[in-house]
Amino acid sequence: MILSMLMAPEGSATPSPDKLPATPQPPWETMHAWAPLPEASTFAAGTENLYLFIIALSALFFGLIMGAMLWFMAKHKRRGPDDKTSSITHSGKIEFLWSAIPSVLLLVIFVWGEVDFIKQSVAPADPIEIRVTGRQWSWTVEYPDYPGVSFTSSTETPEITMMVPKGRPVRLMMTSTDVLHSFYVPAFRVKRDVLPGRYTTMWFEATQVGEFNMFCTEYCGDQHSKMTGVVKVLDPDLFEAALREAGKLERNVEDGVRESDKDYGARIYKRRGCDACHSTDGTPKVGPTWQGLWGRTSEFVGGGSLKVEGTAGENYIIDSIREPQKNVVVGFGGAAMPSFMGQLSDDQIKALSAYIKTLK
């Protein structure tokens, strides 16, 4: 990042970990345009050093090539129509040298990149396991060792999508329910494609407490650029408690009073990524809006229609969450909604259904 360092204005460095504000402030707002990218994983330094090494070599060669070019341009400018030029046509020695020297340097770069890449492919023993599911257009992150804990990214606001402890390796087991995605955390220098019908894995060990941007980098359609999130790195002592607190998606019970279906449903709507495709204010998105869904007559692809009310309406909503392809509303056949069968509990589906009914 030599260039960005040169151009970084004073005081633009990212806030040091201890000074992070108590309320999570998304990294979008804290990073300055030309600030260097944080090096926040054990891979980052290796990648960054290789980056600087190639920048230095490139600058050297670019300087030599351009220097020679400019020098010849100045020295051998045409003075008149009868300028004599040299009869040199080739030189075995020089040609050998300028083939051999770059070859050796390229070999060094190849080996360096290869060795670091292999480190990234083999996870150390006993990492924290994380499951990542990509779908159009949200990430869902689950922790097999911490049942009930899950995060889902939102297309509307940047939210914590993953929590990892500092100084412990984590291993991501990733898959997609629809098209290709790619999981990328620039500050960690890690990226891996996420494929449907296959698991890909990736591991890293965070070295810096803080919040870091996470992006989808394999083009996946309409809201590809909103399939982003925040990875939060915590002190290992705080990790477990914070994870359980932030990641739980259970019904809140305060002073013996259960959270209402409507409020719980509204939380699920945000937290499970429903908002990527369904609006609650009438705006058409990839899926039908939920506003006024209850009581509306829906026309289905392949004929048939239903006025969404009563028991039939309840069943329709439950079916649409579990088996979205059963009844596709006319005009919304483009992108396929994934099934949430087994991913949302009966109680959660009930809450969502209750929430939808309130959206008049």
């Binding site: 351009m66 040199i88 992108a335």
Partner: protein, 569 residues
């Protein structure tokens, strides 16, 4: 070389030899076909360029403002007003369609056919001392097949557009609601045009060389076009198969790329890059060819390392077939495959480096004239060297993990494709403009144009390397506000570049006006290759009689032979 007496008894040029629309539509003349390719590719260059300008304008702000405004404006213009929310909701797709149009049209309709189709067609027979290409009718067929393919692309635009990106990755391309089949059919048909042109050029080079023109007396442009033709013939069928499989998959759901049916989405990437990586060299090798001509002719110096340049083109063409996996280091291909592909990628860097060094060495002790073609030639050395060096970053696996699918990659391939091929192409157009049209452009205007292009291009793309290094992903409609300043800089650069290119088009077209019709010298630069030894524009059959060749085309009379033993060159 033509002198004054010859000029008064000039034969009609190939433009005047026949007239009427049929003389163009059914022409077998390689020169007319070259002009037709030039016009067609430039029209699509404009279309693809304008979509880039719309993209860059949108990227002025992080959250998507311009396209919703445009969509809303267009909707009310067509009497079908939409709300601001609806416009916002559909504008992400608009952005995706725009970058798809930009990429697909630039690759399939502009860069691949530009140099071989326009300059290759026009110059190859002239440089070889032939009357035409080996199969003139096939050549005509290539052009019309190109036009049919282009029509499919135009249909795609009007049938709602395409939003897959030019790479058509599955399973998105099999599930999106946009016009994938017509676009892939278009690319499929364009592939045949490319194959037939390549075949034609290969046979022409093998069989139609003038007496005395041995392989090592061919201009380096011919070597480059020849190496390109080999790739076109061998690689393009794979693209045809891939696109056909995609069409069948989408249409009949046979499941080759669909994991739900036991298929493999990554298989598509292997198929696609097996063509599309060699296609990168289909795009850049002809640019190398032009560069060799520009540097040698305008410094009146024998090209340095003729054989190294000629054979490195062939070496690049061969190795280009076995590096495709470097597009897939993070795609889930095996680590071992990645290592092999990474190694081969570094191997291909060596012949490319040799070329750059040889061009710079050619300047040494030359007689360099800073006219517009040479300015583009020198500009190429600047931009292509950056493009080439940044390829080294992406070949290193651990670093590619970080830089893959970020703006670093965007900047890299624009420095190669635009900074390499297009810059060389514009230089070539200036170099051979008087040969093709019989007119000369205004030199001062051309220098202004070259300066604008140089400044605009580097302002647009250089800071994209920085942005990519900081993790800005490509193909993003909205982005984190942190990157706004850099995007702003890129957009300003894009506007300067657009002005420079329009300016260039304007003075070139202006040079065609009737008042400018004074007879040009046939050989304004003192070039030694055969295309300069006939009149400008050439006569219908190129040469009076068959030219004979007794030296390579870089033995300029200005070369100082004193103190040299006879026959040493």
């Amino acid at each position: 070389m033509a002198n004054e007496t010859e000029k008064s008894t000039r034969e009609p040029s190939f433009y005047e030899a026949q007239t009427g629309w049929k003389s163009w539509a059914f022409t077998l003349d390689h020169k007319r076909l070259g002009i037709m390719y030039l016009l067609s590719t430039m029209i699509f260059f404009f279309v693809a360029g304008m979509s880039a300008i719309l993209l860059r304008t949108e990227l002025l702000t992080p959250q998507g403002d311009f396209l919703p405004w445009l969509n809303q404006g267009l909707a009310s213009l067509f009497g079908n007003p939409i709300t601001e929310e609806a416009a916002k909701a559909q504008s992400g797709t608009t952005f995706n369609k725009l970058f798809t149009v930009h990429g697909a049209v630039m690759v399939f309709l502009v860069i691949i056919p530009s140099v071989p189709g326009a300059l290759g067609n026009f110059l190859l027979p002239l440089m070889l001392g032939a009357k035409d290409v080996a199969f003139p009718r096939l050549n005509l067929a290539s052009y019309w097949i190109y036009t049919i393919g282009a029509c499919f692309f135009l249909y795609t635009l009007f049938a709602g557009g395409l939003d897959t990106g030019w790479t058509f990755y599955t399973p998105y391309s099999t599930s999106t609601g946009t016009a994938v089949i017509s676009a892939t059919l278009g690319a499929f048909i364009l592939g045949f045009s490319s194959i037939l042109t390549g075949l034609n050029f290969m046979v022409t080079v093998h069989k139609m060389r003038a007496p005395g023109m041995t392989w090592y007396r061919m201009p380096l442009f011919v070597w480059a076009i020849y190496a390109t033709a080999v790739i076109q013939v061998l690689a393009t069928p794979v693209l045809a198969i891939t696109l056909l499989l995609l069409i069948v998959e989408r249409w009949l759901g046979i499941g080759i790329f669909d994991p739900a049916m036991g298929g493999d989405p990554v298989l598509f990437q292997h198929f696609f890059w097996f063509y599309s990586h060699p296609a990168v060299y289909i795009m850049i090798l002809p640019g190398f060819g032009i560069e060799s001509e520009l540097i040698a002719v305008h410094s009146r110096k024998h090209i340095f390392g003729y054989k190294a340049i000629a054979l490195s083109s062939v070496a690049i063409a061969m190795i280009s077939f076995i590096v495709w996996g470097h597009h897939m280091f993070v795609s889930g291909q095996s680590e071992l495959a990645g290592i092999v592909f990474s190694f081969l990628t570094f191997v291909v860097a060596v012949p490319t480096a040799i070329k750059v060094f040889s061009w710079v060495a050619t300047l040494y002790k030359g007689s360099i004239e800073f006219n517009t073609p040479m300015l583009y030639g020198l500009m190429f050395l600047f931009t292509f060297t950056i493009g080439g060096l940044t390829g080294v970053f992406l070949g290193a696996m651990s670093l590619d993990v970080h830089l893959h699918d970020t703006y670093f990659v965007v900047a890299h391939f624009h420095y190669v494709m635009m900074g390499g091929t297009i810059i060389a192409f514009i230089g070539g157009i200036h170099h051979w403009w008087s040969k093709m049209t019989g007119r000369m452009y205004h030199e001062g205007s051309a220098k202004i144009g070259a300066l604008l292009v140089f400044i605009g291009f580097n302002t647009t793309f250089f800071n994209q390397f920085v942005m990519g290094g900081q993790g800005m992903p490509r193909r993003y409609y909205t982005y984190v506000p942190q990157f706004q300043q850099q995007h702003l800089l890129s957009t300003i650069g894009a506007y300067i570049l657009a002005v420079g290119l329009m300016w260039t088009a304007a003075y070139l077209l202006w040079s065609l006006r009737k008042a400018n019709k004074k007879i040009q010298p046939d050989n304004p630069w003192g070039g030694m290759s055969l295309e300069w030894q006939t009149q400008s524009p050439p006569i219908e059959h190129n040469f009076h009689g068959t030219p004979r060749v007794d030296s390579d085309p870089y033995n300029f009379p200005q070369i100082d032979r004193t103190g040299e033993v006879d026959g040493s060159h």
